[in-house]
Symmetry: C2
Subunit: 131 residues, 2 copies
């Protein structure tokens, strides 16, 4: 793993730490200010633009919609220049989601520009996938 990939994984871990501790101001600070941002929450219409995205996180975090104890597993980072993307699993009570997180480097720090999360299948008893 390169140092840059580690930095991106640190930014990705910070996102889940902030979500888990329900800190709406810290969540705001994690999102890019120069690049355009977007967010696809599970089952929502796509949100475009910083204002709509940060407002949605405030609503989720302050409205009690943050799943207790959310944590990130199996994160893989891919960096090219000042843009990076991560695929990971979000473990929540009773199941897991799959997530894509995109980061852009702004003033030397990796900032979120896009988050997309969606349900993962429940594992079957025999370990096979539903599809």
């Amino acid at each position: 793993m390169t140092a840059e990939e580690r930095d991106v994984l640190d930014a990705n871990a910070a996102f889940y730490a902030v979500f888990a501790r329900r800190d709406a101001d810290a969540m705001d600070a994690l999102w890019a200010r120069e690049a355009e941002v977007a967010c696809l929450h599970p089952g929502w219409e796509p949100l475009l633009g910083r204002e709509a995205v940060v407002a949605s996180w405030r609503r989720i975090i302050l409205g009690g919609g943050a799943p207790p104890g959310i944590r990130c597993e199996r994160a893989r980072a891919h960096v090219r220049g000042d843009l990076a993307w991560v695929v990971c699993a979000e473990v929540v009570p009773g199941g897991a989601l799959a997530a894509t997180n995109v980061f852009a480097r702004e003033n030397g720090a990796w900032k979120l520009v896009h988050h997309h999360a969606s349900p993962m299948p429940q594992p079957r008893a025999d370990g096979t996938l539903p599809n």
Copy 2:
């Protein structure tokens, strides 16, 4: 819109055109060969690596799993250097999905490195969102 954003949107449109005409070989050719790739099909476990991703598309396309008449709407491209990401809606019979597509430039051409699709909510009669 910049010329680069237009090029990325053309690559994104080509992806949906190939999916709609169910051309498994053309789908293979759209995916990056140098960069690592991943894919999050709706309700599947994450797929990592070119072999697994291209095999999944062959299985979907040749196995009759391609939704008839799929088309892309409201695509927005964001480019930084040799990496780009797109958010769009995938219109399929009876509903729509939200998609994130990530592209990397290889030998001057934008190639898919990641696709993540998940169901969008059905609009309510009063136009409000379920969340």
